[in-house]
């Protein structure tokens, strides 16, 4: 009698113990709307057509679970290991999808979301109820003329714009980011900033809701098709070379005023 009660009870307890950490991870890692919405929807859709990355509709049927569990946390690792399917997805042997966006421990939750067709991941598509964005303020925030409230780096520190108003070139040009990611994708990207350097740089300096709205409005206001003036990096190189040349010219003046050696003095008097 005792054993017949305790066995299901033990099994139930086991299920609870197994489920609890998984739920905890999903809640912790996924943020609002789950893992897909906060981290993957920046580049992927489920049924919405290709964006920066491919449409992930039915990906759990196209690929084996083992493959997805290896590829998603570390795409470059799979390419380097010589996996032919992974290699077929990348250009020039370099995966554009960064490693580490999703941890192996989070894959249970993510696979469940992917199988559910992005159901819990619908957050980016939901109607934004946040503050209204001001494109002009967004532009000032981008260029660093107005600092972010939490001390985050201005976008222009690393990103350029085709009109030459920002020459940042550590990271990609953002002129057409609104068209590339779409409104929902860009909103998700601004919320989580899941890109390699940004992830760390903004971890303790998140953008406020108003700032995200302002930046979104700014990006939407940029006309990617307008014939922009090419980012004039030549100004920087040319200016730098001019500064160096000027300093050498000053050095030339100094040489004449240098104290001559005693032997030079004697020779000149001889």
């Amino acid at each position: 009698m005792a054993s017949s009660i305790s066995l299901p009870a033990l099994l139930g307890l086991g299920v609870l113990l197994a489920a609890a950490p998984a739920e905890g991870r999903a809640a912790e890692g996924g943020g609002e709307g789950g893992i897909f919405a906060s981290r993957c929807a920046v580049c992927h859709t489920i049924g919405g057509g290709p964006s920066m990355g491919p449409d992930l509709q039915g990906v759990t049927e196209r690929r084996s679970e083992a493959w997805l569990r290896s590829f998603i946390p570390d795409p470059q690792g799979m390419v380097d290991a010589g996996d032919p399917d992974a290699a077929a997805l990348v250009k020039g042997g370099r995966a554009s999808m960064p490693s580490g966006i999703v941890q192996p421990a989070e894959m249970d939750a993510l696979l469940a979301e992917l199988r559910a067709g992005g159901k819990p991941a619908a957050a980016p598509a939901e109607a934004p109820a946040g503050p209204e964005g001001r494109a002009e303020v967004g532009g000032r925030l981008f260029r660093g003329e107005e600092p972010f409230a939490n001390g985050g780096l201005p976008c222009g520190a690393c990103h350029g714009l085709a009109d030459g108003s920002s020459l940042g070139s550590l990271a990609v040009d953002l002129t057409d980011v609104h068209g590339r990611l779409g409104e929902a994708g860009l909103r998700g990207a601004l919320r989580t900033l899941p890109f390699p350097v940004m992830k760390e740089a903004y971890a303790d300096a998140p953008l406020t809701e108003q700032e995200r709205a302002d930046l979104l409005a700014f990006f939407a206001s940029l006309d990617a098709s307008a014939p922009g003036r090419p980012a004039s990096a030549g100004l920087l190189w040319g200016g730098g070379a001019a500064v160096a040349a000027l300093l050498f010219a000053l050095l030339g003046l100094g040489w004449k005023r240098q104290r001559r050696s005693i032997s030079d003095e004697l020779r000149s008097q001889a």
């Binding site: 660093g144 003329e145 070139s169 550590l170 390699p196 920087l236 032997s263």
Partner: protein, 233 residues
């Protein structure tokens, strides 16, 4: 790998720099010197040494400013025009130092008198310095704008090292050029106590402003030797 390069090696480099530097200063105080070769050759030294030292000291000062006063730098860069002016100045000083370094390296390799007093360690130091200068100049020109992103990437990273809680993951995803530039700084730090780089701690302020010193070679001239010279060192 990242952990070794940016979390373990920096501590090895600092430990070497301090410990070996102190031992050297105590046990062989007269070896803490730049080993000036001014008496052997003066003209190329003037062009190379002045430009290299002023350039690199000011650029190093800029890095230090970004580390210690990131807010001030961020405020200055709050205007795109001021940021561009600062970047042009920084790149100009970097090029100034790089050309100076190339002059000094060529002098060291081609001048027979200088070659005689050149040790393998001197060449190693020059190699590391050239890596620093080339990667630094390219970073400034290609991965713009370092004067701003340094404050959000390297400033917190360096402070994490200072707190003994290294966060090397902050450098993940940076271009290899930038990572090489950063790692090479720690290489220079490790070379510092074993090379003529130790002259960095010979009270640099006084070194810059003190009056001329006359260094006179008081010996018989030998054939081909340049006679006495007045020198700053």
């Amino acid at each position: 790998m990242t952990w070794f390069l940016f979390a373990i090696f920096p501590y090895i480099a600092v430990t070497l720099a301090v410990a070996v530097g102190v031992v050297r200063a105590v046990r062989r105080p007269f070896s803490v010197s730049s080993l000036s070769s001014q008496l052997l050759e003066r003209r190329w030294l003037y062009w190379g040494s002045q430009s290299f030292h002023y350039g690199i000291l000011l650029v190093l000062g800029g890095h230090l400013l970004a580390f210690l006063l990131p807010g001030t730098l961020r405020a200055w860069n709050g205007s795109p025009a001021r940021q561009l002016a600062l970047e042009i100045t920084g790149l100009g000083l970097g090029l100034y130092a790089l050309v100076g370094a190339l002059i000094l390296v060529l002098r060291r390799l081609t001048n027979a008198r200088i070659r005689v007093v050149t040790s393998p360690m001197d060449l190693l130091v020059w190699l590391a310095l050239l890596v620093s200068l080339v990667t630094g100049v390219l970073t400034a020109g290609v991965h713009r704008y370092g004067s701003t992103w340094f404050t959000g990437v390297f400033t917190p990273y360096l402070w994490s090292l200072a707190r003994f809680a290294p966060e090397p993951e902050r450098l993940d995803g940076l271009p290899w050029l930038v990572r090489l530039h950063a790692f090479n700084f720690f290489v220079l730090l490790a070379l510092f106590p074993f090379s003529r780089l130790v002259h960095l701690v010979t009270v640099p302020v006084g070194y810059l402003v003190r009056p001329w010193q006359l260094v006179v070679a008081n010996r018989q001239r030998s054939a081909g030797a340049e006679p006495s010279a007045s020198a700053r060192n």
